[in-house]
């Protein structure tokens, strides 16, 4: 655990635990609160999503996080992005973070692609001239079919939306890019392009954290990997070693691993 925050250090998680407090009902209402009060019950279920997790990551690396559904991967990513506060421990992040989480960049489906680029840029703190300067690059990179950029995003296919979201996230020039399962939407050609762009970002001493339950993307793009299971850090190491251990754990044959996208 570093006592002085090193400039090379991108992310440092120290004994991080994240616990959700959920009530039994999906949507909390007065009625249920009153009913519970009347019965003298206090139904709060604690869901430990991340348990006492520690790791450091230096700038210029691509870290892959793998694990089954419910392993706490997305929760950890949101905590690094500053969206969820940790319940215990401490997370230090050095630099400007851009997120590409499962819901896109918070795109508004009523707006056109171009308007969403502006909105996403403004939300992350860029000024209008800065966004204008980048808009063309973002549009070129996303390679949407002719005319779609000025159509409402509800008319986009999932793949088109994913491509635009990726393009916005990488062009916000983040020091740290957090990506959650976002590459599954693009086709093979775009995936290749996305991988090249990510390699370019790493070349500029930037850092990427990639969450996936598909091993393919992790093996291709990452130089470092973490395997999480039920909130615990199971292993940290090279993507090949971690993938081997993970597939052994799952009981999936190693030959199947390379062909299956979603192990």
């Amino acid at each position: 655990m570093p006592s002085v925050f090193d400039d090379d250090l991108a992310i440092s998680c120290q004994n991080v635990s994240i616990t959700y407090r959920t009530t039994f009902e999906k949507i909390p209402t007065f009625k249920s609160a009153i009913v519970r009060l009347g019965r003298g019950e206090r139904i709060v279920r604690l869901v430990p999503a991340v348990k006492d997790l520690s790791f450091d990551l230096l700038h210029g690396n691509v870290l892959g996080i793998i694990g089954a559904n419910g392993a706490g991967k997305s929760t950890l990513l949101r905590a690094i992005a500053g969206i969820l506060p940790p319940t215990e421990g401490r997370i230090m992040v050095n630099g400007k973070v851009s997120t590409l989480l499962s819901l896109g960049v918070g795109f508004d489906r009523r707006l056109t692609g171009r308007q969403n680029i502006t909105l996403g840029g403004l939300a992350s703190g860029l000024s209008r001239p800065e966004i204008k300067e980048r808009a063309e690059k973002i549009i070129d990179f996303a390679e949407l079919p002719e005319g779609f950029i000025d159509m409402p995003m509800r008319t986009y296919s999932a793949g088109m939306g994913g491509r635009l979201a990726f393009s916005v996230a990488v062009h916000l020039e983040p020091d740290i890019l957090l990506i959650d399962e976002a590459l599954s939407a693009g086709d093979a050609k775009f995936k290749e392009k996305a991988a090249a762009k990510m390699a370019e970002l790493c070349g500029q001493a930037r850092t990427i954290v990639l969450v996936s339950h598909g091993l393919g993307a992790i093996l291709e793009m990452c130089n470092d990997a973490i395997w999480m299971d039920k909130g615990n850090l199971m292993m940290r190491g090279s993507p090949d070693d971690v993938a081997d251990a993970y597939t052994d754990f799952l009981g999936v044959s190693r030959t199947a691993r390379s062909t299956m996208e979603d192990v």
Binding site: S3, M92, V93, V97, G106, Q115, S127
Partner: protein, 315 residues
């Protein structure tokens, strides 16, 4: 959170809030407040984001209808007609043009407050996607709702001005007081919207209660009745210092529409209105209104900010 800790020396480039560049430290929080100065600086830096978000909402709400943006004026006008008929029926005789002018000025400003409150209370839940995916000062969201309410209110001023001239109230320099009165009302509404936006995250059926609550509030505020009438009704008069809309809206409607003077009885219930008298700003109300606005905004905004880091877990 950027709370300093004894174990880590503070780096030179340490970020002041979770939204600004530099080194960020996230630690557990216990419903505390972040440092307010950098928080509001970051909030100000994202004002263009809030404005863009607001314009999106407004465009989406009316583009699909035949009259489009015209509904912003048609809606409150129809509403005022409904209330005019109601008062005509209850009082048993037709009300004059002056009363309509008073009613309009009160209703438009009241619906500004209740509209901002109701939209604001929904916005955190409504913009859940944004909250789950972006880190920004969350107070932007209710403030966006209030901005939308202001933008919807401004065009209705043109109607108010027309009826102001038709009603026979003389136009004086006193109308300038409407600007600080409106500013008080906006601040008050922003505080209410922030408070209920945070409450709505924990109790989703708040939005079901609110319309009834605002309906009652309308009846006890100087909208249908004039300030003078309320002061003459023993039960309502007791509420004078408990209802923040009494000084806020009372000042607004009095300055805007003036006050009718009767030969006998309390206007406008008396048979014949002698003349319309202009009423200057009530400094007592102006001061009490300001106090209400500042207190409600401070409590509402601080409560919201103290809860906002919990929203992502609760949505």
């Amino acid at each position: 959170m950027t709370a300093p800790s004894s174990t880590a020396p503070v780096p030179a480039r340490r970020a002041e809030t979770e939204f600004s560049p530099g080194v960020h430290v996230y630690e557990p929080h216990r419903a505390g407040l972040p440092k307010l100065k950098p928080y509001f600086r970051e909030l100000w830096a994202r004002r263009h984001f809030a404005i863009t978000l607001a314009h999106t909402d407004m465009r989406a709400a009316h583009t699909a209808t035949f009259f489009g943006q015209m509904w912003l004026i048609i809606n409150p006008l129809l509403l005022a007609l409904v209330y005019l008929l109601l008062v005509d029926v209850i009082s048993g005789r037709p009300q004059g043009l002056w009363y309509f002018s008073h009613l309009l000025s009160g209703l438009f400003i009241f619906y500004f407050v209740s509209g901002g409150l109701i939209q604001g209370s929904n916005i955190v839940v409504q913009e859940g996607g944004l909250i789950m995916n972006q880190a920004f000062p969350r107070l932007l969201l209710p403030l966006t709702s209030v901005y939308v309410a202001v933008r919807r209110f401004l065009p209705t001023l043109s109607i108010l001005i027309v009826f102001h001239f038709l009603s026979g109230t003389s136009t004086t320099i006193d109308l300038v007081w409407l600007v600080p009165i409106f500013a008080e009302i906006v601040l008050f509404t922003a505080g209410l919207a922030s408070f209920f936006a945070a409450v709505q995250v924990y109790f989703r059926d708040m939005s079901q209660f609110l319309p009834y609550f605002t309906r009652i509030w309308l009846y006890v505020s100087p909208v249908i009745f004039t300030v003078a009438q309320i002061k003459h009704k023993a039960k309502l008069a007791q509420l004078e210092w408990m209802n923040p809309l009494m000084p806020l809206l009372g000042n607004w409607t009095q300055v805007f529409a003036g006050e009718p003077v009767c030969r006998t009885g309390v206007a406008p219930s008396c048979k014949t209105i002698d003349h319309i008298q202009t009423v200057g700003v009530d400094f007592n109300y102006l001061f009490v209104g300001l106090a209400w606005a500042v207190v409600v905004f401070t409590i509402g905004a601080l409560f919201y900010i103290s809860r906002e880091r919990d929203f992502a877990v609760r949505l």
